[in-house]
Amino acid sequence: MMSVDAATVRRIAHLARIAVSEGEVPHLQGELNAMLAFVEQLSEVNVEGVEPMTSVTPMQMKKRQDVVDDGEIADDIVANAPATEGHFFLVPKVVE
C-alpha cells in the first residue's frame, strides 16, 4: 500500500512551487493518501499482457505539415505578463 509522509508532502509542494504552511501538511497528507488508496483499487485488476489504452476509439495521431502559419503576435503573447520590456517577459532574476 503506497502512502506519503509529511516530508513527501512538503517536497511535492516545493516541486510544484505551491506555498504550503506547516499547519496544512497533515490535512494534505490525509487527502493525498485517500486519493492514493482510491487509485490503489486498480491493482486488484489483473492487466497481465494488456496494452495500455491511449484512446477510446482506435485512431492515429494527427500530424501537421511543416509550414509556418503562426507567430508574429508578440503583443498578444506578452499581453498578460505582469512585466515586459521590448516584448521580452521580465521575471525576478534567476541565475544558476
Partner: protein, 492 residues
Amino acid sequence: MSTATHKLLKGATGEWEMVIGMEIHAQVTSKSKLFSGASTAFGGEPNSQVSLVDVAMPGMLPVINEECVRQAVRTGLGLNAQINLRSVFDRKNYFYPDLPQGYQISQYQSPIVGEGEVIVDLDGGKTATIGIERLHLEQDPGKMLHDRSPSLSYIDFNRSGVALMEIVSKPDIRDAEQAKAYVTKLRSIMRYLGTCDGDMEKGSLRADVNVSVRRPGAPLGTRCEIKNMNSITFIGQAIEYEARRQIEILEDGGQIEQETRRFDPNKGETRSMRSKEEAHDYRYFPDPDLLPLEFSQAFVDELKAKLPELPDQKKTRFVADLGLSAYDASVLVAERESAVFYETVLDKLGNRARDGKMAANWVINELFGRLNKEGRDITGSPVSAEQLSCIIDLIGEGTISGKIAKDLFEIVWQEGGDPRALVESRGMKQVTDLSAIEKVVDDIIAANPDKAAQVKDKPQSLGWFVGQVMKASGGKANPQSVNDLLKSKLGV
C-alpha cells in the same frame, strides 16, 4: 584501419581510465516548431516567433510536425540505429521561467530511435566504435538573458518549442580525443543528412558530458555531468580537467559526489552547478495531449531509400575507387562542403581514373593549406572547383609541370581567370620538344664534366642533373623527357 587504444591518465598511485558518455542536443532542421506553426528561424525579434501553444496558453493543444518526425528517423538511420515504429511522448516536469508549460514534452520510456552505433575517426587513420543508446524528440525551452538588468531576467520564447533530438551515447568513450571525434562525427552525419545545421555558436548543437574514472577494467566509478557545452575544443578541455579533479579526490581517499557541473572556459575548470537538495525530480508521465507516435515500416523504408551518401560510405568509395589513403579520404569527407568541392573537381576532370588521386592531394595540400593560412573556409575559396580541375587536367595531360602548376594556382588564386588560357598567354607550357631540351642538357653536362663522370658510380646523382635542367628551363621542361635524355647521354 585499426582500432584505437585509448589514453590512460597517470595519477600519483597508478593509472586511471576515463569512462565518458554524452547527451547531444541537436536542433532539428525544420521550418516550423515541433508542436506549433511558429517559425524556427534564428535571430527574430523577441517573442515574434511564438504561437499561443509555445507559451502554454490555456486550451492550446500540441500537434506534431511530421517533418520533425522524418528528420528524427533519417538521423536514426544515419546512426545505424533501430527505428521504433511506435513511440510515446511524455511530460518531463520541472519549474523554471524558460518553460511556461511547467513541463517539457519529451520521450522517456519509448523513444523514436533505439540502439545504434557510430564509427569515429581518430588520429593516424584509427577508428573507434561508439554505441548509441537512443535518440528522442523533445522541445527546446526559451532563452533567458541575465545581463540586461541587475534584478531581472529577460525571456524570449522564440526558441521555445523548436524540435530537438537528444542523442544519448553509451558510456563507450574513453578519452577526450574520442569524445571530440564523436561530436565531430555526429555533427558531420547530421549535416550530410540535412537534419541539423550543426552550428554550435548559435546553439544548434550542445552537449552534456558525463565523466567518471576508474582503475583500468574496474567497475564504473561515480560520474559527474558537465552541462551545456557548445564547443568541441571546450569539451576536450572540460573532460581532461574533470578527470584530473576526480583522480585527485580519489587518490586523497575521498569520494566523488554525483552532481551537475559547469565548465568555465576562461579559467579552464569545472564548477558545481546545483546543490544536492535541489536535485531534479522530473515525475515523467505520458502526455495526455498526444497519442503515441506511430508509422509504418514502409514510411521508414522510403526515407531510407532517399538518404544521401554519408561520410563513411563516401570515404570507403574514395579509397576503393580512387585509391586514396584512408586518412586523405577522411579529411575530404569530414565536412560536407569539402566533399562536395572535391567531387565537383572530380566530375570536371578529363581523366578521373588517372588524376583523381592527384586531385585529392591538390585539394588537401594546396587548397586547404592555403585556405587555412588565410583563415577562410571552402565556401569562400577564390579558386573554384572548375578552375582547380582545369589545373589538374593540365598537369595530368603533361601540358604543365607540377611546379609550374603551383605558380598557376597562385595566379588563379590572386587574379582569377581560365587556367588553360593563362598557361597559353603567359607561356607556361611544358617544353616537350626534345631538341630544345637536348640543348639545355648538353650545356649542363658540358659545364659539369666532373659530376658527369661520377654518375656511373653514383646513379642517385642523376637527380642533381635533372634539377639543374629543370632550373635552367624555368621549370617548363618535361621531367620525364629530361630524365630519359640525361640517362642516354650519361650512359646510365
